[in-house]
């Protein structure tokens, strides 16, 4: 996947985050403070602006710009967490112009590691980690079994969506939702939901890039 695919990915995240803003905010209102939708919308608006201002040459540079922009513009818990994730992923990619599924997997693993270093959340704590971790495992697994990029990304996205839904019965141990104790049970974690959106966006972007270009 080249820089254009990653640019498409970010554009797709920007689009879906705006489309799903209400839902993310509603999820956050139930067990948080009702700003997750607004936070991500603000963040990816800034990201889109940043990508327009200087077009990064490589996928790695692009993801690093996404990360630093999110850290600078979002705030809250998700800002530093998603920001660090994109930053670390970008660092992992270095300056390679073309990213294989295996490289992508390693990059996302680095991103997840960054999130866990900062937030100390493990799977089952009812956070974005519960969507990201299974997604990355699925991606790695599919790659190992020699699946094509398309199936690998589909597997990752489905795993992320399933992981997000799996947060519903969980009792939150990290983030604001943890203040609710038992009352956090029965609600989907907003960050897990947005993480699922991002991986779905990656599929969409990659698929779109597969389509034969006109001319």
């Amino acid at each position: 996947m080249n820089t254009a695919v990653f640019a498409r990915w970010v554009g797709e995240i920007d689009r879906t985050v705006r489309a799903e803003k209400e839902r993310l905010t509603r999820l956050d209102a139930a067990i948080g403070d009702a700003d997750h939708g607004a936070n991500l919308e603000r963040g990816f608006r800034a990201v889109t602006q940043a990508l327009a201002d200087d077009e990064p040459a490589t996928p790695g540079a692009l993801l690093r710009l996404v990360g630093s922009t999110l850290i600078r513009k979002v705030g809250g818990a998700s800002g530093p967490l998603y920001g660090t994730a994109f930053l670390e992923a970008g660092k992992a990619l270095g300056e390679t112009p073309q990213v294989s599924v295996t490289e992508l997997t390693r990059a996302l693993e680095a991103g997840l590691a960054g999130i866990q270093r900062l937030g100390a959340a493990v799977e089952g704590d009812k956070t974005m980690v519960d969507a990201l971790a299974p997604a990355i495992r699925a991606l790695a697994g599919a790659a190992r079994e020699g699946a094509g990029r398309r199936e690998a990304l589909d597997a990752a996205a489905s795993a992320a969506v399933a992981g997000a839904e799996a947060t519903i019965p969980m009792l939150a141990r990290k983030g604001r939702a943890s203040y609710l104790g038992p009352r956090s049970v029965g609600h989907e974690d907003p960050g897990a939901a947005s993480a699922a959106l991002m991986l779905t966006a990656l599929c969409t972007a990659a698929a779109a890039s597969d389509e034969p270009r006109e001319g």
Binding site: T25, R26, A29, I31, G32, D33, A34, D35, G37, A38, N39, R42, I71, R72, K73, V74, G75, G76, A77, S78, G79, P80, L81, L118, G119, D125, R173, K174, G175, R176, S178, Y179, L180, G181, R183
Partner: protein, 330 residues
Amino acid sequence: MKKLINSVDSVVTDALRGLASAHPGLRVDRESRVVSRASGPRAGKVGLVSGGGSGHEPLHAGFVGHGMLDAACPGEIFTSPVPDQMITAATAVNGGAGVLYIVKNYTGDVLNFELAAELCADEGIEVASVLVDDDVAVRDSLHTAGRRGTGATVFVEKIAGAAAEGGAALPEVARVAEEVNARSRSFGVALSACTTPASGRPTFELGETEIELGIGIHGEPGRSRATMRGARELVTAVMDAIHEDMPLSGDVLVMVNGMGATPLIELYVVFAEVAEYLSGKGARVARSLVGDYVTSLDMRGFSVTVCLLSEELTRLWDAPVETPALRWGR
């Protein structure tokens, strides 16, 4: 949702415009979203910086001024500010004696202030951080986000501010701040939820006789739902929760804080019951605040914060302070 705003996106910047024209003693940088003392940093004085999501006014910008904060970083509503703001603030207030970050214990605030502190260190600014986590409604544990920072933030900012103004060095100011936090506990009650401009609807719905016990300051639901009761009974529940966690005795500093939409006359009714409860425990109201200090937009309800005073803390509390929201002695 009826709110006195121009647009959902401009609430914070519009309010900063108002803050600037209302308080000549403040320098309001709307670009980088930093509110600091117009007088600038004082050489050799430790700089105090705090910040957090907006919607808690007068916290934090209302506490910038002589004897309290040097700068505040207002984030979006209920969203912690970003590292850039905190770095700009630290740079602006650093008088060469280092900077203390006063951070309410929320994942977002903690992470952003952490990132800022690292970057400040890289730039050679000595930064120490103190966490405020006084809310007994949250059951603490190693594996959770820990307790929320609420009302005690006002005590920490005032008392650490007095220490800094008095010329204490960074480690000493941090020590005092931590001591205030260690000696303070809070518990909050909501009669109605608040409505953020972004979401446009109340963060939760309460029936005609329902209340939320153990709420935080971000419109999140509380520890449990209960039925409304008389002020005395309600205060007993609140104070029992505090007393259980930190036995109350001796001279105390008490704040009965309105959540933003609570009539002052009701806060005084609450204060009367709080004072009676305390004397029942053999504690004495030595100092007090009654009013809106750490709010949650248009939430109806109140929180009580108690700090066990020492002679040192009392002296620092009494020291002159001159900010938009807290002022005495000058």
